[in-house]
Symmetry: C2
Subunit: 202 residues, 2 copies
């Protein structure tokens, strides 16, 4: 009974929440961890009271956009993995492509993931869990490649996974303006395959 | 003539400046870009006036610790490269070791290098120049390995360099608490050599 009679208001509330997160991401891209509630309310065309009904304070909203970003990123990784489940090489390319795209989409958020101040705002156990879930996606691609006898099995698979994730950040930061995401992904996967296959040709 | 008669004061000034930077790095590790001049003056046992005589404002001091960090990192990379100039494999290991060590030493600074707010404080042309100098160190190690016919030459060398730099960040963030810097460097270089050599054994 709790929901009855309030369908329109509820739908509004949901769309307000989604709009707040969207606007907060845009404000965050400019102000980083200094983003302020007043600017977000104003750019979302909402009263400050409405904003505070959705998010008790600035830290609460920061946590919400971080969680949104990480969950959406993980969903994109899982979707790409599901589409390429039988082809380890394609799965690797799809992973790298998504990795580069989320860097473009959520760059400012990923940029502060290592900020010391974030430790106070964002629960580190949750952060670790999400990192492990990202790692898990790569590890299962690698496992698929080893089972298919395409990838070598004698490397430390977790270090391989961390290298692949780090390489996406590295090439994005250095070359995002020089090559398209698709070109970068192709170049990067060539290196990954050189690392993962014995004859070095993937 | 400008310097005459002020030797003691000058020496004090130099050591004050060095101490301010040291303290500012420690405060930065806790507060990030929110670090405040008052706290730094107090922890350096200096009057706020003395602090402002060295650094006109907070941004000025932030720029100083960023420049200090990047120059010191580059100097450590160059020193390691100079010691291993005739051995590309040893040069790669030395580079990775220094890369992991500076992540430990200056982690909080590197953590904000991608923060959008930094663009307002830190000249982006200078940042690009420093990134290019880092890249140059790796590129010359790779070139040495190709000349010695140890490393393959058919990969995009800049993407290889970005991958090596990114992989250092990736494994540091994921595994810094699990393995020592030396163990991590060994594991990582094995992967790099798998990527760089045709038979995948380095």
């Amino acid at each position: 009974m709790e929901h009855s009679g309030l369908p329109i208001k509820r739908a509004d509330a949901v769309s307000n929440r989604a709009r707040i997160i969207e606007v907060a991401l845009a404000v965050f891209a400019e102000r980083g961890l200094d983003m302020e509630m007043g600017e977000i309310a104003s750019r979302a065309d909402l009263g400050i009271g409405t904003l505070y009904r959705h998010f008790a304070n600035r830290e609460d909203l920061l946590r919400a956009i971080l969680t949104h970003t990480l969950n959406d990123t993980l969903a994109q990784f899982h979707a790409a993995a599901a589409e390429t489940i039988d082809d380890p090489r394609a799965a690797l390319l799809a992973f790298v492509l998504v990795g580069l795209r989320v860097q473009q989409q959520y760059g400012p958020i990923f940029a502060v993931m290592r900020d010391p101040r974030l430790r106070k705002i964002f629960d580190q156990t949750q952060a670790q869990t999400i990192r492990d879930q990202f790692l898990e996606v790569v590890l299962s691609i690698l496992e698929g490649g080893i089972k298919a006898k395409l990838f070598r099995s004698d490397l430390d698979q977790e270090v391989v996974a961390a290298t692949i994730m780090g390489s996406i950040m590295g090439v994005h930061d250095l070359f995002e303006t020089r090559w398209s995401v698709e070109e970068l992904a192709q170049k990067l996967v060539l290196l990954h395959l050189a690392m993962l296959t014995r004859n070095g040709n993937g």
